[in-house]
């Protein structure tokens, strides 16, 4: 059926063009957000208010997850390392896994589902209930007043959340390996201290969290602003935020890791 094939090809073409158009639109929106950030920086109170919602309210899930991830790492690490008689290296394993990879990535994934989805839903609902249109009619730019403060709050809180995640994770590893299993405390900490390099491990981890913070929050504010103003539109946008930012985090993590750690020892 040649007609069906033509329709099929046309459909594919439409989808590709739409996605590229949307990508371009999202990039322009991102630049616009940066350009209109002046108000947020001048009136920092706006950002601080959002820091509470995105940062402080994400603390519980970040801390609890961090603790459990660290505890599992301690347990699994001990299981494997003790076969080679290297159980005192469990501190190194826990710290490096957390600081380099799990801290930034898992914290960002949690952040996307906790704070990113909330930002999208809030902005989407503001749009659906004509609050953004009302603001525009009051001669107040919604990108400057609503989008930019949420964006900066997300970008600022992400590195702190990831740092807390790693810290409490290391503590979780300590609890399991040293307090419960009985690995020597001195070697646990001293091996960790020897192996973890500030520039190579910690700074690279921080760079990752900053990149993830920008990606997740930019996706969240864009999806909220772009949501169609209906209940289905907002719920769809919230789902897209979580899916897109999770994929973006994992993809970006691979790219960043391949630039930062290329098997040098």
């Amino acid at each position: 059926m040649p007609r069906r094939i033509v329709i099929g090809i046309r459909g594919v073409g439409h989808r590709v063009i739409d996605s590229i158009w949307r990508l371009g639109y999202a990039s322009r929106f991102f630049l616009l957000t940066l350009l209109k950030s002046g108000t947020s920086l001048r009136r920092f109170g706006l950002v601080i208010r959002e820091l509470y919602f995105t940062g402080v309210l994400s603390l519980i899930i970040i801390l609890v997850s961090g603790l459990f991830v660290g505890m599992v790492l301690g347990l699994q690490g001990y299981e494997t390392l003790q076969k080679y008689g290297a159980e005192s290296a469990v501190g190194t394993l826990v710290a490096l896994s957390l600081v380099r990879e799990l801290g930034p990535v898992v914290a960002a994934l949690l952040f996307a589902s906790r704070a990113g989805s909330a930002i999208t839903a809030e902005i989407g609902l503001m749009k659906a209930t004509e609050q953004l249109a009302a603001m525009e009619m009051m001669a107040v730019d919604p990108i400057a007043r609503v989008v930019a403060p949420r964006f900066w709050a997300g970008v600022i809180s992400m590195p702190f959340l990831a740092a807390l995640f790693s810290t409490i994770g290391v503590f979780g590893g300590y609890l399991v390996a040293v307090v419960v299993i009985g690995v020597d405390e001195g070697s646990f900490w001293s091996q960790m201290q020897n192996a973890v390099d500030f520039r190579y491990d910690i700074v690279n981890g921080i760079i990752k969290t900053c990149v993830f913070g920008v990606a997740v929050t930019a996706i969240a504010v864009f999806e909220g602003y772009d949501a169609s103003p209906t209940a289905e539109g907002v719920s769809g946008a919230t789902t897209r935020t979580v899916v897109t930012s999770s994929l973006a985090i994992l993809g970006l993590d691979f790219v960043l890791t391949s630039f930062m750690f290329r098997g040098m020892s």
Partner: protein
């Protein structure tokens, strides 16, 4: 342009793509008056408000406010003009994350450098005008529909605009709130010397308070006149609309093929 006209609309056309929404609208709105724009759902009333507010650009024709063509203004000038006008949205569109007080204070804080004690006095005065001074520390979620609409009204008069547009201000209100809102629109317009433009399909309530009515049907002005003229009108559309008759120029049935042939009934079978 007569000296008192605040809004002047000439030959206004607007279409979404192929679909023509407004076709050659002419209107003049005098200062200090309450003007109603009526018409069925989907007749282009809300689009007209968006055109006056400069949210969309007409295909041809123009909207002039105080002598300035709206769609030719630069963004900064448009924003400057919007500070002198305001809009009451259908369901109020209060900012859900701000209290009643902060909602009314919003524009004062965004656009002026007034000291906080003065903002407090002004906000309480605006809330007093709509009878909700006592509700100033409630959140929008705690308000009834009518109260939310009144807070939104207080917010829209925050900076003493010269023009207020109301998008379906009576929708979904009980009879008491309905007449409260209606009377507030009239009283505030007179007290503040504003011009009010009410888009509505609530005929009875709005005929009580307005000075002049325009009927829009299918993108053209079907009729216009004072409430007394409208009530006495014999024009078929106006008569149908004002008296809420089911059939008339606006047909009850959506255009369709002949009923019998749609049901596959051949003549002679029945």
């Amino acid at each position: 342009m007569t000296p008192e006209a605040l809004v002047e609309i000439k030959g206004l056309n607007f279409s979404y793509g192929e679909r023509s929404i407004l076709k050659g609208i002419n209107m003049t709105m005098l200062r200090g008056k309450v003007i109603a724009i009526m018409g069925g759902s989907g007749s282009g009333k809300t689009t007209l408000l968006r055109l006056i507010g400069g949210a969309v650009t007409p295909s041809s024709g123009y909207v002039k406010i105080a002598g300035k063509v709206v769609h030719e203004l630069k963004r900064d000038d448009l924003f400057r003009m919007r500070r002198k006008m305001s809009m009451l949205f259908q369901f109020g569109a209060l900012f859900t994350d701000l209290s009643v007080f902060d909602n009314v204070a919003f524009q004062m804080r965004e656009h002026t450098d007034l000291p906080e004690p003065m903002i407090r006095d002004l906000v309480l005065m605006k809330l007093q005008a709509v009878g909700l001074r006592g509700a100033h520390d409630l959140m929008p979620a705690q308000l009834s529909g009518g109260m939310a609409r009144r807070v939104a009204l207080a917010r829209s008069i925050a900076l003493d605009p010269v023009l207020i547009m109301y998008d379906e201000p009576f929708t979904g209100l009980d009879p008491i709130s309905l007449s409260v809102i209606g009377n507030l629109i009239r009283r505030l317009t007179d007290a503040l010397g504003m011009t009010s433009l009410v888009v509505t399909h609530d005929v009875q309530e709005s005929l009580k308070i307005v000075d002049y009515v325009y009927f829009i049907s299918e993108g053209v002005i079907a009729a216009h006149g004072t409430p007394a003229e409208v009530r006495g009108s014999v024009a078929p559309f106006v008569h149908q609309f004002v008296h809420g008759e089911e059939d008339g120029p606006v047909s009850f049935h959506y255009p369709a093929e002949a009923y019998a042939s749609d049901l596959k009934l051949e003549t002679g079978f029945a």
